[in-house]
C-alpha cells in the first residue's frame, strides 16, 4: 500500500517537475523568434533596439470624397504630411519613415493608404491631421499642437531664449562696469 502511494506521489511530483521545466522551454521555443514580449505584451528583453510591434494598432480613418475634388497635395506634400503623423506600431517613427524602413510593420502602410485615400478625396493636410487626431488621439501627431496646454511646449523655448539673452546682456554690461571701476578702458 505504502509502496503504491509512494510511487503515485513520486509520479505526480515527477510529472509536475517535468511540466514546470518544459513549459518555459516550450514558451520560448514556440514563439519562434524570441519576440521581446511576455504574455502581457510588456517588453522584457534586457537589450536595446527591440520594441513590441503592435500590428493591431491600426484604426481606419475614412471620409467620403468631396464631390468633384482634386487632390491638394502632390507626392512631396504627402511625404511632408506623413512626417507629421506617428506610426502606431510602437516604433516611435513617423508613418513615412516607418513604411520606408520597417518592412515587417503592417500599421504604417495601412495608415499610408488612408492618407492617400483622403488626399485623393480632396482634403487638405490640416483636415487630414484633424481626422487622424479624432481617430487615434493626439498621440498620433509627431509634435504637440499649438493650442491649449500644449502651447506651453512651444512657448517655453522662446522664454528660455529671452532669459538667456537678458542674462548675457546684463553679465557683459557688468564686466564693463567692473572694468571701469578698476580704471580699465573698456
Amino acid at each position: 500500500m505504502t509502496g503504491r502511494r509512494e510511487f503515485l506521489l513520486r509520479a505526480c511530483g515527477g510529472a509536475s517537475l517535468l511540466t514546470a521545466l518544459v513549459r518555459p522551454v516550450r514558451a520560448q521555443q514556440s514563439s519562434g523568434a524570441f519576440r521581446a514580449v511576455d504574455s502581457a505584451g510588456v517588453r522584457n528583453a534586457d537589450t536595446t533596439n527591440t520594441f513590441v510591434m503592435n500590428q493591431d494598432a491600426y484604426v481606419p480613418v475614412h471620409m467620403p470624397p468631396r464631390s468633384g475634388a482634386a487632390p491638394r497635395l502632390d507626392g512631396a506634400g504627402v511625404i511632408a504630411l506623413e512626417r507629421r503623423i506617428r506610426c502606431q506600431c510602437g516604433c516611435t517613427l513617423d508613418v513615412y519613415e516607418c513604411r520606408t524602413s520597417l518592412y515587417s510593420c503592417e500599421v504604417a502602410p495601412a495608415m499610408h493608404r488612408d492618407v492617400l485615400e483622403l488626399v485623393a478625396g480632396g482634403y487638405s493636410a490640416e483636415e487630414i491631421m484633424d481626422e487622424f487626431t479624432n481617430a487615434y488621439g493626439s498621440g498620433v501627431l509627431m509634435a504637440p499642437s499649438a493650442e491649449g496646454f500644449d502651447l506651453l511646449a512651444w512657448t517655453a523655448p522662446v522664454v528660455a531664449v529671452a532669459i538667456a539673452a537678458v542674462a548675457t546682456a546684463v553679465e557683459v554690461r557688468r564686466w564693463r562696469a567692473a572694468a571701469r571701476g578698476t580704471g580699465g578702458d573698456a
Partner: protein, 656 residues
C-alpha cells in the same frame, strides 16, 4: 569565476563607500593618512570592479547560460566577439561597465597632483567615490548581473542582430566612457563649492576633463549617427529618441561648460556659471542612464523594465537637487574685483553668448524630452515631441549659435586691441550673404536651409581668417614648417576654431536631409530600377539575381545590383535579409535588412531589400545629398577637441 565576480562586486561597494568617507573626513580633519587610505580604497574598488566585469565577460564568452544575464544576451552560436560585446548590450552589464569607467576616472583624477591644494583633491576623490558608491549599489542591489536562472535553458536568447555590427565595439563604449568621465568635473565643482574656494586653479583641470568627456561623447554620438544612418528602421541620423536626446544634452552641457571656462579661466568672471556647468554634465549623464532604464519615456534604446529605473530616478533627482543647491549657495564666483577691461564686442562676450546658447539649446532638448511626461500628468493624454517640434524650435537657435560663432572669430580677445575686427565681421557676413544669394538663385526655397547653410559658410570663413592670422603670427620661421605648425596648434583656441568649422560642416551636411528622395521597384534578375537623383543625374540599378547562404549564426538572402550613374558603372551593391538562428537552428528575432551604401561627397545612394519572392526582389533606393559632410564635420569637431586637449598643457592663463 562567477562567484569571484560576485564577491568582487560586493567588495567594491564597501571600498567605494570607505573611499568617499575617508576622503571627505581627511579633507575636513586635515589628516593626510585618512585621505591616502581613501585613495587606496578607490583603487581597490576599481580593481574589484574590473574583476567583476571580467567575470561577467568570461561567463558570456563561455556561454554560461545558468546566469540569467548570459542567457538573455547570447546564444551558443553567437560569434565570440559579440558574446563579449554583450557585456554592454544589456542594462546590468552596461551599468557595471559604467562603474568600471567611473572608478578608473576616479583613480586617475585622484592620482594627479593639481595646483589646487590637497584639500580640494581629497574632496574631489570623495565626491567621485560617493558617485561610484551609488552606481555600484544599484548594480549590487538591483541589477544583479550574476543572478542565476531558475532553470537551465537549452540556449540563450541571443543578441539583437541589429547590434551585431562592428560599431558595437566602439559606439556604446565611447558613450559609457564619455558619460563616466563627466564625474570628474562634477566632483571638482562639488569640491570647490563645498570649500568655497575663491581661486580658479581648479578650473583648468575641469577644462581638461570636460574636454576629454566632450570629445569622447562627441565621437560616440557621431558614430551612433553613422550606425543608425545605415541601419534600417533606426530612423536615420537622428530620431529624437529620449536616450539619444539625453546623450546630446550631456554633450551640449559639456560644450557650454567649455565655452564658459574659456572666459572664466582667463578673467575673474563667470566662475559660478562655470562651476554650475561643470557639475551639470554628470547629472545629464545620469539622466541618460535613467532614460535607458525607465519605462516612463518610450525609447527604442531602452533596456528591460528593471527595478533599476526607480533607483536611477532617485539618483538623478538627488544629483540635480545637489547641483542646484550648490550653484545657488556657491561662493566660488564672489570675486568681483581685479577685472580686466572686456568690451561688449569681444571674443569673451561671444564665448559667453555661445555658452548661454548651448545651455539654452540643452534646455530645449531636455524640455522636449520631458514634455510628454508633463503633458500626460496635466491632461492625461500622451503627446509626442518628435522631429517636427525640434526642427521648428532648434533651427532658429542653431542659426543664432552659428551667428555668434562667426562673430566670435571676427572679434578680438577683450575686444580692444584688434583694429581689423570690423573688417572681419564685414567679411564673414558678406560670405554669408553671397552664399545665401547663390542658394536662392539655385532655387533652394527652404528658408531654414538657406539661413543655416549661409551662416555655416560664415563660420567657416571666420575660422579660415583666424587660422590664417595665426599662421601669419606664428609664421614659418627658421625652424621649419613642422615647428611652426606645432606653434599654431598650441595657440589659444585654435582647437576651438577647428571644432567650430566642424560644426559648420555638420550643419551643411544636415541641410541636405530635406532633399532626400527614394524609389521602390520589384525586379526580376536583369531588370533595372531607374531613377534620377536630386541633382538630376540618372541612375540604373540592375538586379543580378538572388543568392541564399548561411553565414555563421545567420541565414542570408542577398541581392546584388549592378549600379550605373549615367553611362558610367559605379560598382556592385549588395543588400540582404538576414534571419538570426540560435544553436539549435531556431529562428531568433525578426529578420533584419542589411543596407548597401555608396558614398560620395555630393550624394549617398542607399539600397535596401524590401521583400523577396524566389528570384524576384523588391528594392528600395534612396538618394541622400551631402550626408558625407556630416561625418567629415564630426571628425573635425572631435579633431578640434583633441588639438585643444593636447594644447591644454599650456592652459595656465598667460596675461596677453
Amino acid at each position: 569565476m562567477t562567484l569571484l565576480g560576485e564577491l568582487a562586486l560586493w567588495l567594491a561597494l564597501p571600498m567605494a563607500v570607505w573611499a568617499s568617507a575617508a576622503s571627505f573626513a581627511g579633507a575636513s580633519l586635515r589628516r593626510d593618512e585618512l585621505a591616502a587610505s581613501g585613495r587606496r580604497a578607490l583603487r581597490v574598488a576599481f580593481a574589484a570592479l574590473v574583476l567583476a566585469a571580467f567575470a561577467l565577460a568570461w561567463a558570456l564568452v563561455k556561454r554560461d547560460v545558468s546566469i540569467a544575464y548570459v542567457a538573455s544576451h547570447v546564444t551558443g552560436n553567437l560569434p565570440t566577439p559579440f558574446a563579449l560585446a554583450a557585456l554592454w548590450s544589456g542594462g546590468a552589464g552596461s551599468l557595471l561597465l559604467t562603474a568600471v569607467f567611473l572608478a578608473l576616472a576616479g583613480v586617475i583624477a585622484s592620482a594627479r597632483s593639481t595646483p589646487t591644494g590637497p584639500g580640494h583633491q581629497m574632496r574631489v576623490t570623495g565626491a567621485i567615490a560617493a558617485a561610484l558608491s551609488t552606481i555600484v549599489a544599484v548594480v549590487a542591489f538591483s541589477s544583479h548581473p550574476f543572478a542565476r536562472e531558475a532553470w537551465l535553458p537549452p540556449d540563450g536568447r541571443g543578441m539583437n542582430p541589429q547590434l551585431q555590427h562592428p560599431a558595437m565595439f566602439v559606439h556604446p563604449l565611447l558613450l559609457l566612457a564619455g558619460g563616466a568621465i563627466t564625474v570628474v568635473p562634477f566632483a571638482q565643482g562639488v569640491a570647490a563649492s563645498l570649500a568655497r574656494t575663491p581661486d580658479t586653479a581648479w578650473l583648468s583641470s575641469v577644462r581638461r576633463w570636460a574636454l576629454l568627456a566632450w570629445l569622447t561623447l562627441g565621437a560616440g554620438i557621431a558614430l551612433g549617427m553613422r550606425w543608425a544612418y545605415a541601419e534600417l528602421g533606426w530612423g536615420g541620423v537622428w530620431r529624437w529618441d529620449p536616450v539619444q536626446n539625453a546623450a546630446l544634452l550631456t554633450w551640449l552641457a559639456l560644450a557650454a561648460a567649455l565655452h564658459a571656462s574659456a572666459v572664466s579661466l582667463w578673467h575673474g568672471v563667470l566662475r559660478r556659471w562655470t562651476s554650475a556647468l561643470a557639475m551639470a554634465p554628470f547629472v545629464c549623464a545620469l539622466f541618460a542612464s535613467w532614460t535607458a532604464r525607465s519605462d516612463l519615456l518610450p525609447s527604442v534604446h531602452a533596456f528591460a523594465r528593471t527595478p533599476d529605473g526607480i533607483w536611477m530616478t532617485a539618483i538623478v533627482a538627488a544629483a540635480a537637487m545637489l547641483v542646484v543647491y550648490l550653484a545657488i549657495r556657491g561662493r566660488s564666483g564672489a570675486s568681483r574685483g581685479a577685472l580686466e577691461p572686456i568690451a561688449a564686442a569681444s571674443r569673451e562676450s561671444a564665448a559667453f553668448a555661445g555658452s548661454a546658447m548651448l545651455a539654452t539649446i540643452g534646455f530645449v532638448v531636455l524640455w522636449g524630452t520631458l514634455y510628454p511626461l508633463l503633458a500626460e500628468w496635466v491632461s492625461g493624454e500622451r503627446v509626442t515631441v518628435g522631429a517636427p517640434y525640434f526642427a521648428t524650435v532648434l533651427t532658429p537657435l542653431t542659426a543664432l549659435a552659428l551667428a555668434a560663432m562667426s562673430a566670435g572669430a571676427a572679434l578680438a580677445w577683450r575686444g580692444g586691441s584688434r583694429s581689423d575686427a570690423w573688417w572681419r565681421l564685414l567679411f564673414v557676413f558678406a560670405v554669408a550673404a553671397s552664399v545665401a544669394a547663390v542658394l536662392a538663385i539655385a532655387g533652394v526655397r527652404l528658408v531654414g536651409v538657406v539661413v543655416s547653410v549661409s551662416l555655416a559658410a560664415a563660420v567657416l570663413a571666420g575660422a579660415a581668417v583666424e587660422l590664417a592670422a595665426m599662421l601669419r603670427r606664428h609664421g614659418v620661421g627658421a625652424d621649419g614648417a613642422t615647428a611652426s605648425m606645432r606653434r599654431v596648434a598650441r595657440a589659444r583656441a585654435v582647437g576651438a576654431f577647428v571644432a567650430h568649422a566642424g560644426v559648420a560642416v555638420v550643419v551643411i551636411g544636415l541641410a541636405g536631409l530635406p532633399f532626400a528622395s527614394q524609389r521602390v521597384a520589384t525586379l526580376e534578375p536583369g531588370d533595372a530600377l531607374e531613377a534620377a537623383d536630386p541633382f538630376g543625374d540618372g541612375w540604373r540599378f540592375v538586379s543580378q539575381g538572388v543568392s541564399l547562404y548561411d553565414a555563421g549564426n545567420q541565414r542570408v538572402a542577398a541581392v546584388a545590383l549592378d549600379v550605373w550613374r549615367g553611362q558610367r558603372r559605379v560598382g556592385l551593391m549588395r543588400t540582404s535579409k538576414r534571419q538570426s538562428v540560435d544553436a539549435q537552428g531556431n529562428d531568433v528575432f525578426e529578420p533584419q535588412t542589411e543596407v548597401a551604401v555608396l558614398s560620395s561627397p555630393a550624394l549617398d545612394a542607399l539600397v535596401a531589400l524590401v521583400s523577396l519572392e524566389r528570384e524576384t526582389a523588391t528594392i528600395r533606393v534612396w538618394f541622400r545629398p551631402m550626408t558625407f559632410w556630416i561625418w567629415i564635420g564630426a571628425a573635425l569637431v572631435v579633431g578640434g577637441g583633441i588639438v585643444s586637449l593636447l594644447a591644454g598643457a599650456r592652459l595656465v592663463p598667460e596675461r596677453a
